[in-house]
């Protein structure tokens, strides 16, 4: 466990000293600011974060892979993977350490966006339910997106390939309910349920449904499990 901590701490330090993370932060805050103010020009604007959340989850299809692509792909490229795998460290400790680091950086971004919520509470009288639930949903979604990115970073030693594949998976999850809407019967239902949107929209409406929480936690667990397996399989290739 101490080694997982060490891995996480090292990665966090790299996040806060690397330009990529700051660029991601800049884009995230600048664009979500735009989404947030979008509806304010309305004669009767609603005190809501829904446009912010909607924009943020679409942006995270692009931004989450940018945060995770480096995590293991670079270790392979630098050859430091050889040190990691020959140290007395379990494979899951490496994956969890890396994951926790990316999650930490993401949570810092989320915390910075509390500014928008604070503005609403100061200048208006928003319904707090959807805001709290929306943040819970957004954090769960972000955590899932990072797990997807971590898996693709484990699979390739090329950061670009890793990022593009992760974006593909996230896009597929995002559009699952629409693109496969034409599939009928059980298969259609299963594919529809895999879609991120349906599960996320409940949160931003202020509904905290255990099904949705279980959905996101399962996605996270599934992709982390695959990441650990993929790292293990490196030994056999």
């Amino acid at each position: 466990m101490r080694t997982a901590q060490a891995v996480a701490w090292k990665e966090i330090q790299i996040y806060f000293s690397s330009p990529t993370a700051y660029i991601v932060g800049l884009i995230f805050l600048a664009l979500t600011g735009f989404f947030f103010t979008q509806d304010l020009g309305d004669p009767f604007p609603e005190a809501t974060l829904v446009p912010f959340f909607d924009g943020a989850i679409v942006m995270f299809i692009l931004l989450a892979p940018a945060l995770t692509m480096r995590l293991l792909a670079e270790e392979s490229k630098l050859g430091t993977i050889e040190l990691l795998l020959t140290s007395p460290v379990r494979d899951w400790e490496i994956i969890i350490g890396k994951y926790v680091a990316s999650l930490t950086f993401f949570l810092v971004l989320v915390a910075l966006s509390f500014f928008y919520a604070a503005l609403l509470f100061v200048f208006a009288d928003p319904d707090p339910g959807p805001i709290y639930a929306g943040y819970l949903g957004f954090i769960l979604y972000g955590a899932a997106a990072l797990a997807v990115g971590l898996l693709t970073s484990t699979m390739s030693n090329n950061q670009i390939v890793s990022a593009v594949v992760a974006m593909g998976i996230l896009l597929a999850l995002f559009f699952a309910d629409r693109a496969f809407g034409s599939v009928s019967g059980l298969a259609g239902e299963i594919i529809g349920e895999m879609g991120v949107r349906g599960h996320f929209d409940d949160f931003s409406r202020g509904v905290i449904d255990t099904t949705n929480i279980v959905y996101f936690l399962s996605v996270i667990a599934f992709f982390l499990f695959l990441s650990i397996r993929t790292l293990e399989s490196r030994r056999w290739r």
């Binding site: 690397s18 040190l83 140290s87």
Partner: protein, 311 residues
């Protein structure tokens, strides 16, 4: 300390090593010698637990590197061929991180860090970002991380490649020093390095071990016949039969280089014939200008073993 049995590793359908067996005793320095692509790195990666062999087993201090991987890995310090460094970390930060990964307690790391930095002469560069260090210093940082946790087994893949001659000498001295109480396995294709450093050599070619012995024995064993080079001041036509008549001489060849007559004498069974030869030359009234024994160099042995000519 290290016991490898029947190691075979395939990359796809191609065997990188086939049926490699060897053992290394505690405190021994074993050298892997072979041309590029012979399977040295593959063997080292298997020893360090980076990848499992397709067939065969390796045990370190009794722990199987596949079955009891964590225990085995705790005992290994490894310097891969391309020194794996996080270029955006400082020397200190990198070593501390590696120490933690190797399971050292923070206190132990603190106590050991200064020592390792002294041994590897990194004192002035503790705070320097690794990306800004020259190749030679990076190599030292690489060695520092390998010895930090005082591993029982040190695996060094081409430790002196690509650094300048002064640093090569330093690195060799360091390895020799480490080899006093640790088991060291190193690979190289620099032949003199092997005779300088290693107690024992494995010559590996096309994935198979073709010879295994001490550097000295390898030279002697392969040679069978010792050679002497004699330079004599006297008429070649007379000198040649006299030399051939000496008891124990198998064959004499003569070279005339601008009036310098050099004779290469093959002696039977490694006999030292220097006394007999000098007496024969002097008693005939010629002058003995030079006399030296010529051992077969490791280069020659190596070439003989790794090229497909019959001995």
């Amino acid at each position: 300390m290290i016991q490898a049995e029947g190691l075979t590793h395939y990359y796809g359908p191609y065997p990188a090593i086939q049926d490699v067996n060897f053992g290394v005793r505690k405190g021994e320095i074993l050298g892997f010698l072979g041309p590029n692509g012979a399977g040295k790195t593959t063997t080292m990666r298997i020893i360090t637990g980076f990848m499992p062999p397709t067939h065969g087993t390796v045990t370190l201090d009794g722990f199987d590197v596949v079955e009891q991987s964590l225990e085995a890995r705790r005992r290994v310090g490894y310097l891969p061929e391309t020194v794996p460094l996080y270029t955006d970390m400082s020397v200190n930060g990198y070593l501390k991180y590696m120490g933690t990964l190797r399971g050292m307690a923070p206190k132990a790391i603190k106590a050991r860090l200064g020592e390792v930095i002294d041994v590897c002469r990194l004192g002035d560069y503790r705070k320097t970002q690794i990306g800004k260090l020259s190749k030679g210093f990076r190599q030292r940082v690489g060695i520092a991380q390998a010895i930090l946790h005082e591993p029982q087994v040190l695996v060094l893949d081409e430790p002196t490649i690509g650094i300048d001659p002064i640093q090569v000498v330093e690195t060799r001295r360091l390895i020799k020093e480490l080899g006093k109480d640790q088991t060291v396995v190193l690979s190289t294709h620099i032949l003199p390095e092997v005779s300088m450093l290693c107690d024992r050599v494995l010559i590996i070619n096309e994935g198979r071990i073709v010879a295994e012995d001490t550097p000295k024995n390898l030279a002697a064993g392969l040679q069978g016949v010792d050679r002497l080079e004699v330079e004599v001041g006297g008429p070649a036509a007379e000198v040649l039969p006299v030399l051939k008549d000496i008891k124990g001489v198998n064959d004499v060849t003569h070279v005339n280089e601008d009036g310098r007559h050099t004779y290469t004498i093959q002696a039977q069974g490694g006999k030292d014939l220097r006394d007999e030869i000098s007496q024969a030359v002097i008693s005939n009234g010629w002058s003995l200008r030079g006399l030296q024994m010529v051992g077969m160099s490791l280069e020659e042995i190596f070439l003989r073993l790794t090229t497909h000519e019959e001995l």
